[in-house]
Symmetry: C2
Subunit: 351 residues, 2 copies
């Protein structure tokens, strides 16, 4: 039934160690519910970084409730940790984390489902205790072994090792999945998930061979029939992408990966040759977020930022998540069993 059950699936109470990545600043409740219903772990992403934080918090809560209404399985939320120049956590992060804690406090049924909180970007610091005390499982996403060790020592329950080939906001240093993952699994004792470059059963089997307990995927799930919230043109841009069509440009907190187009090249040139107009950093951040959301909602994939992982190059079909997730787990089990049984020594053992 659950072909790759392990300590991670047991901890989180899911069938398959396959997680849908945070995909902020987008609308993700349907996608998250579809992944959770399929036996993986869906993730409701933060809806944006609005000026009106109360409105943002209301939207986030609506997304959480919409997801909860669509599944009776566990699901997660993802909240990036933004910090100012003094290392102080930004208001949007604080209010979103508190929104989750409040929502669970007043609704026991929701608390039974929304059992995982994923943080990404900056170090969650004091929030680690707060998340733990609320009874949540705390996953934290890192792009370096140093950050993995720091987070695990501070009490984070699950590390998501994020290779630089991931989509959206990428780690500040370009450490790639094949290098990062074994470094991280060697350095920490808590369960580790790989994100960045995974798209199918082979990616899962391969991550397990590196010592991971599971995988998280963003781009693969965006191109799914469950994802009716996103503009079809955005999804088509993922299907059309070829090797070399992606680029890491200057994002909101740090590097950001998406497709090469007018919008990303504008940011890339701005970074590289210094000839771009001087734009106020706050205004630039607002433009980036607005541009990301425009691509997703209106399908403007030329002048809007299209965030995808490098793996978009290999994605050319729209999956049905309900079948895909269990098949991916079964496929990974089959690969591992097949490889083990093909080993010369194993053959001798059976002969």
């Amino acid at each position: 039934m659950n072909p790759i059950a392990n300590r991670y699936t047991e901890l989180v109470g899911i069938d398959h160690p396959i997680v849908q990545e945070g995909l902020g600043p987008f609308r993700t409740p349907k996608l998250a519910a579809a992944v959770s219903n399929a036996g993986g772990l869906g993730t409701v992403s933060m809806p944006g970084m609005p000026t009106d934080l109360d409105a943002g918090a209301r939207t986030f809560r609506e997304h959480i409730e919409e997801c909860a209404a669509l599944t009776d399985r566990p699901f997660a939320v993802n909240i990036p940790v933004g910090v100012d120049n003094n290392g102080v956590v930004l208001p949007f992060t604080d209010i979103y984390i508190r929104t989750v804690l409040d929502a669970r406090r007043v609704d026991q049924s929701l608390a039974a489902q929304l059992t995982v909180l994923t943080t990404s970007a900056g170090f969650p610091g004091d929030y680690i205790g707060m998340i733990k005390d609320a009874g949540l499982i705390h996953q934290h996403k890192v792009g370096s072994t140093r950050h993995a060790v720091k987070a695990a020592e501070a009490g984070v329950d699950v590390i998501i090792a994020a290779g630089f080939e991931m989509g959206g906001h990428a780690p500040s240093k370009a450490v790639h999945s094949y290098v990062l993952l074994p470094n991280v699994t060697e350095a920490v004792d808590v369960p580790v998930l790989l994100t960045g470059g995974v798209r199918d059963a082979r990616g899962l089997a391969s991550a397990l061979a590196m010592g991971a307990d599971g995988v998280a995927m963003g781009t693969r799930f965006i191109a799914s029939s469950a994802n009716s919230d996103w503009h079809p043109t955005y999804i088509q841009a993922i299907l059309d992408a070829k090797e070399g069509d992606d680029v890491a440009f200057d994002g909101v907190y740090g590097p950001c990966r998406g497709l090469k187009n007018a919008a990303s090249l504008k940011l890339l040139n701005h970074q590289e040759d210094g000839t771009g107009e001087v734009i106020d950093a706050v205004e630039l951040t607002r433009w980036k977020i607005e541009s990301m959301q425009r691509a997703q909602t209106t399908g403007d994939v030329t002048d809007g930022l299209v965030l995808t992982g490098q793996v978009a190059a290999a994605i050319d079909d729209i999956i049905d998540i309900a079948h895909f997730v269990p098949n991916m787990a079964a496929g990974a089990a089959e690969i591992l069993r097949g490889l083990a049984s093909a080993l010369p020594d194993t053959e001798h053992a059976f002969s």
Copy 2:
């Protein structure tokens, strides 16, 4: 005895599907012989791109003969395919390939050992037929799926999929191991090796799970006790490297990965802000090669280019190749067997 024997080890006649990468423009006969003696496939690299091509060819032949004297196992040579602006193969490539064919023609004993020719960088075109006719196994290294398909269709026997995290001369497009490898294994039927990011048994097991038949490693083998040809300071720089210490700069044929230092940052800045002195391209290429060789021979790791893969960050010991290679193969088998036997269904099957 040979825990991961497969179609690749059978094709090449080695014990373990573990290849030592081409490491030009350096001196590699001892290293290559050590890897071959350990049951993997060592590779003698081209010694440089000298102005005096006859002298270069003599050096290359000396390196090949030195390797042959140190092992009675199969070994490979690696020759990058350089092309000019009109797509014509450069003289150094032509003369090095002919040197190998000549050496084998006049020495049957050498021909029985030097059974594999690896090409890298540009497309080997008409040389494919020439290499095949000489009875050599032809391996070709690619950084994209398109190039893998083209090479396999043209008759290349083995594809080496080179993720951008590799050291030295990297593919022109930044496609990383976790994305590239499954794309390539899906696209071609010939044996595929992964290079870029691999350092131990987990990397091999992981590559096999992605559908590869083996792995190639450069940086891991440089830091070995067999490698007395390289300056200890160079090897120490690999041991000291941390995550984020590597950089892809403008190399000889395209991007090149090495450690961040005065030499690589000079090239990086030259690329990025356009403020570097205008240097003649031929002169610049000569400086780069001289700088690479100086680092390796004199240990000048600050003003010399130190080529390493991103995996240098994870390498902190000097291995004994004779033990490392068979242990890596045995370890990969153990990982695959362990993962398969831990699968819930397998347990049921045995209960």
